[in-house]
């Protein structure tokens, strides 16, 4: 338990971003092993590893890998979701900047397993440094015969392109990302069961695999050391295996990315980040802006694991962990959260487009000192109207933090309304 550097082990060594340096540390052992296996064996290793998607939802990776047709009748595509836009998260950025070959190798392994011909890394437009680092790695991999035609003499062909976003949080949602990659506005598409899964019909109606940067970065280790070895990490948890990178920010002494074994207590993560700055711990948003906020008491109990975090009322999410000290006004914090979702709602469906606006308006009224007690009930009603009724996950993601804060910090909202200002501000 505690810190476990697997993905980030060599992230401090600049040569790890070069092919030589990467291979010195065992880079491409995973792909070599994969190419010697048949495709199904590779997928089975991923199944044994227990790897779950690191983009937020924690969906078992192998199910997607296994979901593309085995009989190929069309081109197959794979996408790396490098749009990292969840407030509080900056792990994919660091992975791409310091360990780009983990992503390239991981995607190549996935391409082999799924018979993909072409891959795209969709990187958000602002991440120029990360994109440059990926570009250098891809160019080097082509030069060394690790991308392109007949990779390592295996007969496998795989082309890898970079495609950048242009400023839109919604494009991190996988179907909106595909719209964007196909040259459209970044709006989500109809989902299963109303439409086929992307593994059957995704990019240009072809079978498509999409995973997060960190998910792909795990694949080289799983193939090099075996799925069973990977599954032994984090085995104390119900159903979370391996390591997870947490981006720790807020009122801590040493903000940054910390990689931990699943099963680590949340408070240990805080310790790694140098402890609290400027005051006692008041609250924590452990998995990115979309997940419900925890109070200090829940933080003491929280164990890092997909199911374990739910037991204390929150989620692992994307691992954007913000610690807040006692001087933080929760009303103000949630008000700022509501601005984000209002601005990033793509406007396609009514519950989210209207609901996020109303949440903001009500929170803005409360924050300005004009709030009424009934506003809290009203906010909860709006949350209920959005959650589960929106076209894509952004609506749910907008409702959860507000609903969560109303549950855990209700007294603070009430006090704010009564006095017209926050507890923290008076302290």
């Amino acid at each position: 338990m505690g810190e476990y550097k697997l993905l980030l082990r060599h992230s401090g060594d600049p040569s790890y971003a070069t092919l030589d340096g990467y291979q010195r540390q065992g880079g491409y052992d995973g792909l070599r092993k994969a190419l010697a296996m048949d495709r199904q064996q590779v997928i089975d290793e991923v199944k044994t590893s227990g790897l779950r998607g690191r983009g937020g939802a924690g969906f078992p990776a192998w199910i997607k890998w296994n979901g593309l047709p085995k009989e190929k009748t069309k081109p197959h595509y794979i996408i790396c979701n490098a749009d990292e836009g969840e407030p509080g998260t900056f792990k994919d950025k660091q992975l791409m900047e310091t360990c780009p070959f983990l992503v390239v190798e991981g995607m190549t392994i996935a391409a082999y397993a799924t018979q993909a011909d072409v891959g795209y890394i969709y990187i958000r437009g602002e991440f120029v440094d990360a994109a440059r680092s990926m570009r250098r790695a891809i160019d080097e991999a082509y030069r060394a015969g690790l991308l392109g035609r007949n990779i390592l003499g295996s007969g496998m062909n795989f082309d890898l392109h970079i495609h950048t976003g242009a400023g839109s949080y919604e494009c991190g949602e996988e179907s909106a990302l595909m719209s964007s990659l196909m040259g459209e506005r970044g709006m989500p598409r109809l989902k299963f069961p109303h439409a086929p899964l992307p593994t059957i019909s995704g990019l240009w109606d072809s079978p498509t695999l999409i995973n997060n940067v960190e998910t792909y970065a795990c694949a080289p280790f799983i193939l090099a050391n075996g799925g069973a070895w990977y599954a032994s990490i984090g085995a104390s948890t119900k159903n979370s295996r391996g390591t997870k990178i947490f981006s720790v920010s807020g009122h801590v002494n040493k903000p940054g990315n910390y990689e931990v074994e699943f099963g680590t207590p949340l408070m240990e993560l805080l310790e790694m980040a140098g402890g609290m700055k400027g005051g006692e711990l008041k609250a924590c948003v452990p998995g990115g802006s979309s997940v419900p906020i925890l109070n200090a008491e829940a933080c003491q109990k929280a164990i890092i694991g997909y199911e374990e975090m739910m037991e204390v009322g929150s989620m692992v999410g994307s691992g954007g962990c913000m610690f807040l000290n006692e001087h933080t006004s929760i009303v103000d914090f949630i008000w700022r959260t509501s601005i984000f979702y209002k601005d990033e709602s793509c406007g396609k469906c009514t519950p989210c487009r209207e609901g996020t606006r109303w949440m903001f308006l009500i929170l803005d009224r409360i924050r300005s000192g004009q709030g009424r007690m009934e506003d809290l009930q009203l906010l909860e009603d709006v949350c209920r109207q959005i959650d589960g009724r929106s076209f894509c996950g952004l609506g749910d993601a907008a409702a959860w933090p507000v609903a969560g804060a109303l549950k855990v910090f209700r007294h603070e909202f009430e006090e704010f309304i009564r006095s017209g200002r926050s507890l923290a501000a008076r302290a």
Partner: protein, 202 residues
Amino acid sequence: MSQSSDTPTLRFSPKAVAELESLKTHYPNLKACILPALWIAQREYGGHLPPEAIAEVAFRLKRSPAEVQGVATFYSMYNTEHKPGRHMIEVCTCLTCHVCGASNIVAYLEKKLGIKMGETTPDGMFTLHGVECLNACDRAPLIQVGDEYHGPMDEAKIDALLERLRNEPESKVVALADAIVQVHLKEEEREKARQAAASVQS
């Protein structure tokens, strides 16, 4: 020589044309080139996308200007509305930056430049702009200028940054667009574009 009435005025440089030709090979159809082509256009048109830039992208990709305009306006990094100043200062005011003092950074920049968020200085040098999480919250409060992130910011660092930017003749808005175009291109594709640029100069 007169062009047919549906041909817009074309301003892409030979380098830009070569870049676009390479990009077309990355996708199965021309429509998918719209986003990267808009980045090329934003660079070629000096940091923004006036209607002529939209028309040129549409023409080169055989799409309608209305479609390309519709796509461009969805994304916040394409400057479709007005031309920003030479350098755009993007201040993150999102969650972590908010709790780590972004409002002080905004106030200081507004005072120092004599403009409000969303405005451009009268000399056309700086545009101030608020943005959502730039996903480098470990460096909060954070500022982005073109292809550079700066943080954690304080008043002294802002002073030094503005001083440097004033003496920077290249527009950071254009630099960002160019950097994004370059990451799309493979080594040999960048070389092809260089040769296309060199062939007109000689």
